[in-house]
């Protein structure tokens, strides 16, 4: 169906993005990370290639999406052994690809798979790897990666001295854009002596019962932090969310306390949201959190502390007890 190319005949020196395919479906972050890469590609005069590892084209469900994406080329590696993600085998395929095509950058969405696969490749090839990057730029011809770091409001810029430059990119940190020009599709033929073996054998897969939340595309987000004081109070956010047709978000300490699942964490280690209205209750506004919500159209902060960074950066800061405000708001809206 696609033009077949032997690995060694593919073009060299590209910017490669990992297109995460699981059970025939493309993870939306794989499209998002093309946005900053396209920009780097224009500045460095490099092509952007999205690489997908799949078992066969017929069971791949998102071909139409790929046709609209802004990658210059799509490389598909198709083999029955790739039907299910297995860290060691997937890593070996990409290691071979890096060796053969000498990319200048190799980027992954910071999903569970991305965060398992990228370090395996980095370890195999002794490459530097930056985690949860949320901004990319070129300085003096070099790829510079940005992420918030330890401490209050500190941002760090990093480079990697090894090639390809490698990073996992924060989920939702970049918005997907689509292009007019359909990318070129190639099916990659791995060398005949490539060994398609994995030490992992998948016996069973049970899909998650619950649908993934829609935080990153929600129009209204209500997020809670440690200032909500208890799991019980936090649970009330879901009541409010139902009335407002909103999604519930959280800060890291609250997730680690077990008040709510970790997939609701907003920030550098979680997801980035861009709603019309974001309401943060009892959240201090540490940079690791705010990089994940600062592009919300309208920000409301409820906090007892006037000086909290989130209150300062909010369009509307309400100074008061978050659990009380939450209770009253639910009552008022249910009236």
């Amino acid at each position: 169906m696609f033009k077949k190319y032997r690995l060694e005949n593919l073009e060299k020196g590209n910017l490669i993005a990992f297109g995460e395919v699981f059970q025939g479906m493309l993870h939306p972050s794989s499209i998002e990370i093309l946005t900053p890469l396209k920009d780097l590609g224009l500045k460095l005069n490099k092509k952007v290639v999205l690489v997908c590892l799949i078992d066969d084209v017929d069971s791949f469900k998102d071909l139409e999406l790929l046709k609209k994406c802004i990658a210059d080329e799509i490389w598909m590696v198709c083999h029955q052994e790739l039907a299910h993600f297995r860290d060691d085998l997937y890593a070996e395929v990409l290691v071979e690809m890096v060796k053969a095509t000498d990319p200048c950058g190799l980027f992954f969405p910071a999903t569970s798979i991305g965060c398992s696969l990228a370090p395996r490749i980095a370890g195999r090839l002794n490459l530097g790897l930056c985690a949860h990057v949320n901004h990319l730029e070129i300085e003096d011809g070099k790829i510079v990666m940005t992420r918030p770091t330890y401490g209050e409001n500190i941002i760090a810029k990093l480079i990697s001295n090894t090639s390809p430059v490698m990073a996992t990119l924060s989920i939702g940190a970049f918005s997907a854009i689509y292009g007019e020009k359909e990318p070129k599709f190639f099916e990659v033929e791995m060398p005949s002596d490539f060994s398609w073996v994995s030490k992992l054998k998948v016996r069973r897969f049970t899909p998650a019962a619950k649908q993934p939340n829609r935080l990153s595309t929600a129009k209204v987000v209500i997020a809670g932090g440690r200032g909500l004081r208890s799991k019980e109070n936090f649970q009330k956010l879901f009541e409010l969310a139902e009335v407002l047709r909103a999604e519930v978000g959280a800060t890291r300490p609250v997730c680690y306390e077990g008040w709510v699942e970790e997939d609701r964490m907003i920030g550098i280690s979680g997801v980035t949201v861009r709603p019309k209205v974001y309401i943060g209750l009892g959240i201090s506004g540490a940079l690791q959190h705010t990089v994940g919500m600062e592009n919300s159209e309208y920000i409301v902060a409820v906090n007892i502390d006037k000086e909290a960074p989130l209150v300062k950066m909010a369009h509307l800061g309400l100074i008061g007890d978050a659990p009380k405000v939450l209770d009253l708001l639910i009552k008022r809206l249910k009236k």
Partner: protein
């Protein structure tokens, strides 16, 4: 007896972190260290495996000598031997340089069956060290693991990601990072073993004691380098309102109406 290598990390107590203004790395020596919270599940997993199958447990960490109390804590819960990898030359390591030292030290402890770690550490949040170490050891790696058990002819691992639950067969040795949700419980140390730990000292290995290439160590051996750090200024956007909660709620409701989120 078959061995489990349990890797743990001392992390700065949240809220006490200081950054070295020159190297932009954490000042670790001066810090109060706590056990990295996600390591708790790796420790509990180790304890369960030891109970069921009778492993010998080596707890290992890389860090300054002030992590020794944490090693002893783990000794009190599950470990039989403690290993500390400590050398000035390791300071400022990124995940690859850290994984390199860990991998070289783990090789020294061969043969072993399982290498267990927490999913991630709360100071870096990268999740990279377990798969990087596995790759350097040329072993299979599994992340997000919530159960490990033995069947007749093979080991079975259950891992859980946002997609669902996978059951995999894998033969030791392998490296697994344990899901923080795997257990909500970590057994306390036994008093007897804590007393034992008081007089027992960890084996301390420095760079010279291991087969290490100096160019791969510490800040200089780390391919990722911080080139700049800067403070992000907070942009003050709007108005701040004080008053009693019902007044604040009215204000919020009117904003939600204005924005078309709710009908007036």
């Amino acid at each position: 007896m078959e061995k489990i290598i349990l890797c743990i990390k001392g992390v700065p107590k949240p809220g006490t972190v200081k950054v070295d203004p020159k190297t932009h790395t954490l000042k670790r020596e001066s810090l109060e260290l706590i056990l990295n919270p996600p390591d708790r599940q790796a420790i509990e997993m180790t304890a369960r495996l030891k109970e069921t199958y009778g492993f010998k447990v080596y707890v290992i960490t890389m860090g300054p000598p002030n992590v020794i109390p944490l090693l002893k804590e783990v000794y009190g819960i599950v470990a039989d031997e403690m290993v500390l990898l400590s050398d000035r030359a390791f300071a400022g390591s990124d995940t690859l340089a850290t994984s390199y030292v860990l991998a070289q030290a783990i090789k020294r402890l061969s043969p072993y069956s399982l290498v267990l770690m927490g999913l991630k550490s709360i100071d870096g949040e990268t999740s990279q060290v377990p798969p990087e170490t596995a790759a350097l050891l040329e072993l299979p790696s599994l992340t997000h693991v919530k159960a490990i058990y033995k069947e007749e002819n093979s080991w079975v691992v259950i891992r859980q990601t946002e997609y669902g639950e996978e059951e995999l067969e894998v033969n030791p040795p392998f490296v697994a990072s344990i899901l923080p949700e795997a257990f909500d419980y970590l057994r306390p140390p036994s008093l007897k073993r804590l007393l034992e730990a008081k007089v027992k000292e960890p084996m301390v290995l420095a760079a010279n004691d291991l087969d290490l290439i100096p160019e791969r160590l510490g800040l200089n051996g780390s391919p990722t380098q911080v080139v700049d750090v800067f403070e992000k200024k907070i942009e003050i956007k709007g108005q701040v309102i004080e008053g009693d909660p019902s007044f604040l709620v009215e204000k919020l409701v009117s904003v939600l109406e204005q924005k078309g989120i709710i009908n007036p």
